[in-house]
């Protein structure tokens, strides 16, 4: 894999965001706190704090989280719903300023059709805003499918069956994909059919027949033009002078003191909101104090007796 014609370096990791399929968040954080935490720790330390917080405001607005920003994220089932949690996950990754790419691992899995449509609409909004998005998706409806610009279709075993534009204009049709498969010997796709289903049945389903779509793709005109386009882009990008990215030099974007300050602050807030642990400490302190007090009650308080008590204490610790 190449970025701007050069192999990947450690800056790539910081230039990308990865939206995981299972939305992992600290249950006691609010939406705004989670996004701010990510922005303050993952954006380059050259940016000022005000700049990072302004970014957070912008992202909250972009992902339509304004009315949810002070809601506690909670556990699945007791807190934000699945679709809202997904939006928070996307916001947390966006807060890290992924200027290269935003990966999404099956963002619509586990969502109802309205939720899936809402997530894809937001992704479309982000893409129109200039964010590069790479997304894996299974069994999309035609509405979702046509929202994307390009399609990389993988057959069983991970070999490529199609790579290129879905339609002339995103959100309108899937003319290019349909034309490619029809030209290459597939039965014609009815105009009312879901093109995503049509190509999945062709390449992976029962109707795949004997056609090897991977081989057919490798020898097609579309593949040749795609390869040529990639070569042209690579040559074009190599002409640019190499840019210096300060993010490559560091393992963590934020300094160690910032990391410790922010994680400690987060943990204090967490302990305050979910106080089982502090209460546990208080309870055990009282209990241990009571037991110690009872075990050594009515001891004479002269120094000789105190020394005896100390040796006894040591003996007890020794027998642990």
């Amino acid at each position: 894999m190449l970025v701007d014609g050069k192999p990947l370096n450690s800056g790539f990791q910081k230039g990308t965001g990865f939206v995981q399929q299972n939305d992992n968040h600290l249950p006691t954080q609010t939406v705004r706190e989670a996004i701010e935490f990510s922005a303050l720790l993952r954006q380059p330390r050259e940016f000022s704090k005000a700049q990072k917080l302004a970014d957070v405001d912008y992202i909250i607005n972009l992902l339509e989280l304004d009315d949810l920003q002070d809601a506690i994220i909670g556990f699945p089932g007791a807190g934000l719903g699945v679709e809202r949690r997904k939006r928070v996950t996307i916001a947390v990754e966006l807060a890290a300023k992924p200027d290269l790419l935003l990966f999404l691992d099956e963002p619509t899995s586990g969502l109802d059709s309205a939720g899936a449509a809402s997530i894809v609409r937001l992704l479309r909004k982000l893409a129109n805003d200039g964010q590069a998005i790479l997304c894996t998706i299974h069994q999309p409806s035609s509405l979702l499918f046509e929202s994307f610009d390009n399609l990389l279709l993988l057959t069983m075993g991970g070999s490529m069956a199609y790579f290129g534009k879905i339609g002339e204009k995103s959100g309108r049709d899937s003319h290019h994909v349909r034309a490619y498969f029809e030209q290459n010997g597939a039965p014609p796709c009815p105009p009312t059919a879901n093109v995503a289903e049509y190509i999945l049945e062709l390449t992976a389903g029962d109707r795949s027949g004997t056609v090897n779509w991977n081989k057919r793709w490798s020898s097609s005109i579309q593949a040749a033009s795609a390869r040529q386009a990639i070569e042209e882009i690579k040559a074009d990008r190599l002409k640019h002078p190499p840019t210096h990215d300060p993010r490559e030099e560091r393992e963590f974007s934020a300094s160690l003191s910032t990391q410790i300050a922010l994680t400690t602050q987060r943990l204090f807030v967490d302990m305050y909101r979910d106080a089982a642990y502090p209460y546990g400490v208080l309870f055990s302190n009282i209990l241990v104090g009571l037991v110690l007090g009872l075990a050594f009650q009515r001891r004479p308080s002269c120094s000789f007796a105190l020394r005896g008590l100390l040796t006894e204490l040591l003996q007890i610790w020794g027998t642990e």
Binding site: Q259, Y277, G280, G289, I316
Partner: protein, 117 residues
């Protein structure tokens, strides 16, 4: 009598520590003890934050393992210090304001029981 007290106390400490050790090492409750609520609270908090670190925040280089452990130490120590002060204060207030001896307390308790009956 005091020897007996020490033995009881030692048994208590052993059970308490075994509980801690076995829960941390084997992740199963092997010994019955007085403190499952306490241990579970501590373990649950740590596991949630560690799971989050291992799945998302560690790989994305949000913060280091060192920062995470330091934050746990700092919060735990300050919580202990706060409660230490609180309990010490409560204890000293109790001693200063109650100048009666133990037998007085017993008499008081007897009177209370009598009243309740």
């Amino acid at each position: 009598m005091i020897d007996f007290q020490n033995r009881v106390f030692t048994a208590f400490i052993v059970i308490l520590n075994c509980k801690f050790l076995y829960t941390i090492v084997a992740k199963v409750n092997l010994t019955p003890s007085l403190v499952p609520a306490v241990v579970n609270a501590i373990m649950a908090k740590f596991f949630v934050v560690r799971a989050l670190f291992e799945s998302r925040e560690g790989p994305s280089k949000t913060f280091s393992w060192f920062a995470m452990i330091t934050s746990f130490i700092l919060t735990s120590v300050s919580i202990i210090l706060i409660f230490l002060r609180l309990l010490f204060h409560a204890g000293s207030c109790f001693i200063v304001t109650h100048r009666c001896c133990v037998s007085d307390m017993f008499r008081l308790a007897e009177r209370l029981v009598h009243l309740l009956n």
